[in-house]
Each structure stands twice: as structure tokens, then as C-alpha cells.
């Protein structure tokens, strides 16, 4: 069988997650270069939402079964392992997400494969899969090799452009029944929505984002002033929320909100990948961090290394003056 690339899709409430399209974009690049087929595998309780999507795959394989309502790694593995054994892919792509990270280890152990996590780039060179991945919160990159045929790569969200995961036309779709699997050891029960306080940071045009560089809770006051002057709201990275300085609904990042405001002011934020994932598509990103090597400057459009505690009040004053002394 011609080794191919298999993308394991992620979806929620009938819609494919962005990471799936990004994985397809990556897989498309690999498949085109190596002349391999590209199969997108979707595990779902109902195949219908996925049967006519213009995905950049050669084939879409939907495995449909009642036990696949909601994500349970146990349920997924019971279907995925035999399916992948049957397909015998050269490379499997998973998302470096809550779903992909649950599947990676067991998949590798059960398929005799090896994974590289946190990948930003995946290529095939002959009989080797070459992965570039992030280590130490993005401070270093590693380049690793995996043998074709036993390679699993977990792709970091935001590494490939979503639109290249789509194409004109709908690929061949096959729907198979996923065998009923008996009692699961990990059972999905329900999804709890976050409690939103007065602000939904996803709907606000300007976000003033606080990172650990804020140093203390009191400094939120000046950020609030700035946000209000700009007609926006204050959001934060995970560490700031974990400390209880702001409610979780204000968290931006992998395990928080994904936002695309017109202006994102990243203050005292170093730029760990988990946070970048949540804001990198903002129209205008201005980052302030006293560390000139902070990874945030790789994603920001403009940056400065001044102290945010000096900058923020100065900025608020100037904005007020520019608005006409409000």
C-alpha cells in the first residue's frame, strides 16, 4: 500500500475545528511533495455534517458510531487503532490540543509508532519525516526525524494557514460504521460552558492584555483606564488568571478565548505558544515587554521594550488628549 498521510480530525457540535484545516494544509504540502495520498479521518456520532465539505484531502473517511458522541480518548482509540492499522499510513497528524495530546501516547504505544509533539513544521524527506517542534515555551526549536511508517506528529495550532486545508470541490467521502465497543473506561458526560461576566472578550474591538509583567493586581487599574479610553476591555494570559487577578472569562489562549480584535495590546506578555494561539490573528498587535528577546515580538506588528508601568499612563493621557480631552 502506498504510504499516505492521515489527518485525524477534531470537531465540535458538527463543525470541524480550525486545527483540522491547518493539519490538512500541512498534510497537503507533505502529500504533494511526496506523491502520497491524503486521507482525513473523522470520528463522529453522525456523519451527515461532514459529508460535503471542500477539504483538501483525497479521501474523507467518516467512522460513525453512537459511542463517539463527545470526546472520550477511550472511545476514539478503540476505533482509531484498527482503522490506522488498516490504512498503514506513512505519517499521522494529530492536533497538539486537548484531543490530540490524549491520543498521541496510546496511539504510539499501540501502533509501535513514535510522536513528536508541538510541531510547527512537518516535512517528508525520502524515508524520513522531519519535524520542527517548540521546546521550553517557545524559547528553542528542535528538529527531529521519524521513520516513515511509524511517525505521528502533533501540530501546533496556527502553524499552517487554514485556507490551504480547503479546496474547490468535495473529495470522495466514505462512511463506515464504527463497531460498538462495549463499556468504555473513560466516559464523556457533558460540556460546561464558561461563566461569562459582563464582558465577552471575543466581541470587543480593542483588547489590553495583561501578562506576568504586570507584577501585581493593583496595576490592573491603569490597564482598565487605558482599555476604557480605547473603548475596549482588559484580558489576560493564563498565569494572571490563575493568580485570581481576573476571572477566567478574560483568559486568552489555548485554554481560554481565541480573539481577533482590531487592536491587541500585549503588555508584559512573553509570548508562550499557548497564548499566541489565542490572539495571533488580531489585526494589529502591539507588544510591550522589557525583554527584547521575548517570543511575543515574533508575532507582534509593533513592539517596545519600555516599562509598561511607565507607558500605560502616558498612553492613556495622550489618547484622552487626542480624543479632545474627554
Amino acid at each position: 500500500m502506498n504510504p499516505g498521510v492521515v489527518v485525524v480530525a477534531e470537531h465540535e457540535r458538527g463543525e470541524l475545528a480550525d486545527i483540522t484545516l491547518e493539519m490538512l494544509a500541512c498534510a497537503r504540502e507533505v502529500a504533494d511533495a511526496a506523491h502520497w495520498p491524503l486521507t482525513c479521518v473523522i470520528l463522529a456520532a453522525h456523519a451527515q455534517p461532514f459529508q460535503a465539505l471542500p477539504l483538501a484531502a483525497d479521501r474523507v473517511l467518516v467512522l460513525e458510531g453512537p459511542g463517539l458522541e463527545g470526546f472520550s480518548p477511550d472511545a476514539y482509540l478503540r476505533v482509531l487503532v484498527p482503522a490506522l492499522k488498516g490504512l498503514g499510513p506513512g505519517l499521522v497528524l494529530l492536533g497538539n490540543t486537548g484531543v490530540g495530546m490524549d491520543l498521541a501516547g496510546p496511539l504510539c504505544a499501540l501502533l509501535g509508532a513514535t510522536a513528536v509533539a508541538g510541531c510547527t513544521r512537518v516535512q517528508v524527506q525520502g524515508s524520513t519525516v522531519v519535524c520542527t517542534s517548540r521546546l521550553y515555551g517557545g524559547k528553542l526549536l528542535a528538529q527531529s526525524e521519524l521513520p516513515v511508517g511509524s511517525a505521528v506528529a502533533l501540530l501546533l495550532p496556527g502553524s499552517y494557514p487554514r485556507k490551504r486545508g480547503m479546496q474547490n470541490g468535495v473529495p470522495k467521502v466514505e462512511v463506515h460504521a464504527a463497531a460498538a465497543s462495549g463499556p468504555l473506561r473513560v466516559r464523556f458526560r457533558e460540556l460546561i460552558e464558561p461563566k461569562l461576566d459582563d464582558v465577552d472578550v471575543r466581541k470587543v474591538p480593542v483588547l489590553v492584555a495583561a501578562g506576568r509583567g504586570l507584577q501585581s493586581k493593583e496595576n490592573l487599574g491603569i490597564l482598565d483606564d487605558l482599555a476604557r479610553t480605547l473603548g475596549g476591555a482588559v484580558c489576560a494570559t493564563r498565569p494572571v488568571v490563575d493568580q485570581g487577578w481576573l476571572p477566567r472569562s478574560r483568559q486568552v489562549g489555548r485554554s481560554g478565548m481565541t480573539v481577533k480584535p482590531r487592536l491587541y495590546l500585549a503588555l508584559g506578555i512573553s509570548g508562550a505558544p499557548e497564548h499566541i494561539e489565542g490572539m495571533k490573528e488580531s489585526d494589529l498587535i502591539v507588544a510591550v515587554n522589557t525583554d527584547p528577546d521575548a517570543p511575543i515580538f515574533d508575532v507582534a506588528h509593533y513592539g517596545a521594550t519600555v516599562d509598561l508601568l511607565d507607558l500605560v499612563p502616558a498612553l492613556t493621557d495622550r489618547l484622552r488628549a487626542a480624543k479632545g480631552g474627554t
Binding site: 496510546p106 526549536l141 528538529q143 502533533l154 473513560v186 464523556f188 490563575d242 507607558l311 495622550r318
Partner: protein, 255 residues
């Protein structure tokens, strides 16, 4: 029910990470070690379970001599038993080999729960939890922020993080391996005096299973991220930068 926690020593990023001459590893001279953050949270969650269910906690400290400090801290915080898993820098980030090494002792230990951080700062391959789970023929789920155990029912009810701040509630049959994202409360403080004392009286057994390398992934190169697209830096003092930002804001019609 007994709880095992795997604490891994990883390079502390507060120190600059220097790539060694071989281009593939870190220069050991410059590395300062710290317990992997996710594993700290796993320990905290384990200690919360201990408080609720009187479940003894065994801490496995993986690393060089500094792992013994981490074990002393874990004991000072309340862990009941400490096991030192001596590991050298070349084994760093290789979860597959670590899982193979820990499988035996974890199996014979009879733990109802094995907790570890869902991710390690230095990991190359798949998460430790998932790999361990297969070795132990146990279920695994990760990315957790809450672990509640129903000892009578021999299951755990956990909350798993999803994007957008959503939480998935799941049930897991015990024994199980769980990957902790963050504990229900921040890792507790323990005074330096207590740690010093724990260090003096520490009785950590050393894992007799030697370090092993299973075929897996090795980094062929370590690189600094290229700042391909880099931000245009605004120069000058805070006032000057403020003026420039106002100009940008006006330009974009955001005022």
C-alpha cells in the same frame, strides 16, 4: 487508594538556555533545574486527594541530584513516600523511555491513580501520561483541572479543559493515569525551614530499574527560533513610544 506522582526536573527557562557545541543538546554548565510546572500541579492535586481520602502519596523524582531536592519539597508538602529515579541529561525529554522504565514499579505499587503534568517543558515526544497508561493497561485522559474520586465506585470524575474556557466532565475507571493541566488551587507554599528539615531526614528509595532507551525520537538539532517576521520596534522612552502608538491607533481609525 494510593496515589503516585511523577515529578520531572526540567531546565529552568529563567536562565538562558545555551545550545552546546554539538548543536543537539543543551550546555549542562548553564542549566539550572526546576520541577516541571505541570508536575507541581499534579503533586498539588495529589495532596488534595490525600486530604480528602486519606490516600497515601508516593512522589517519584526524576532527574539528577536536584531531583532529591524536589522530593524533599514534596515530602515537606505532605507526600508520604519518595522514590529517586536517577536520570541523566541525555534522557531528557524522552517520555517513551521514562514510561518504559517506570512501568514495572508503578504496576507493582498498586496505585489507584498515577498523576503527572500533561506536558513537560522539555518533552519531544508524546505526553508521559498516555505512554504510561498503555504500559499499565490503564485508561488515560489529560488536560485536567479537577480530579474528584469516588473511591467506593472506583472511579474518578474529572474536568478536562477545552478551548474557549469550556470544561468537559468525564468519568474515568480506576486505576487510571491522569495528565494534570493545573490543580484546583495553586501549588501550596512550604517554608524553607520545613524543606531543609525534610532534606535532612529524607529517606528516598532509589529506583533500581536502570535508565533505558527505547527506540524513539531524538533531536538532531536545537535551534533558536528565527525571528522571521519580527515586530517593528518603537524606540525611545515611554512617552515617545506612547506618542507613536497613538499615531498608529489614529491611523487605523480606532480612536
Amino acid at each position: 487508594m494510593k496515589v503516585a506522582v511523577i515529578l520531572r526536573q526540567v531546565p529552568d527557562v529563567v536562565e538562558e538556555l545555551v545550545i552546546a557545541d554539538d548543536g543537539r543538546t543543551l550546555s549542562e554548565e548553564d542549566v539550572m533545574y526546576i520541577t516541571n510546572e505541570g508536575d507541581e500541579h499534579a503533586l498539588e492535586e495529589a495532596l488534595l486527594l490525600k486530604a480528602r481520602h486519606a490516600a497515601p502519596v508516593t512522589a517519584f523524582g526524576v532527574g539528577g541530584e536536584e531531583a532529591k531536592d524536589a522530593l524533599a519539597t514534596a515530602v515537606a508538602k505532605g507526600a508520604d513516600e519518595a522514590v529517586f529515579v536517577r536520570s541523566t541529561p541525555d534522557a531528557r525529554g524522552d517520555n517513551a523511555s521514562l514510561a518504559a522504565r517506570l512501568a514495572g514499579p508503578l504496576k507493582t505499587g498498586g496505585y489507584g491513580l498515577v498523576l503527572t503534568g500533561v506536558h513537560a517543558a522539555d518533552q519531544l515526544d508524546a505526553g508521559l501520561g498516555g505512554l504510561l497508561a498503555v504500559q499499565l493497561a490503564a485508561p488515560y485522559v489529560g488536560g485536567l483541572t479537577t480530579v474528584h474520586v469516588d473511591v467506593a465506585g472506583a472511579k474518578a470524575v474529572v474536568q478536562k479543559e477545552y478551548a474557549g474556557g469550556r470544561l468537559g466532565v468525564m468519568e474515568v475507571d480506576l486505576p487510571a493515569v491522569l495528565g494534570v493541566q493545573s490543580a484546583e488551587q495553586p501549588p501550596r507554599y512550604v517554608s524553607v525551614g520545613k524543606v531543609t528539615q525534610a532534606r535532612r531526614t529524607l529517606q528516598a528509595s532509589e529506583l533500581s530499574v536502570p535508565s533505558m532507551t527505547v527506540p524513539g525520537v531524538r533531536a538532531r538539532a536545537l535551534l533558536r527560533p528565527e525571528s522571521g517576521a519580527h515586530a517593528k520596534m518603537l524606540e525611545g522612552d515611554a512617552d515617545h513610544v506612547a506618542a507613536e502608538i497613538v499615531a498608529l491607533v489614529k491611523e487605523r481609525g480606532l480612536l
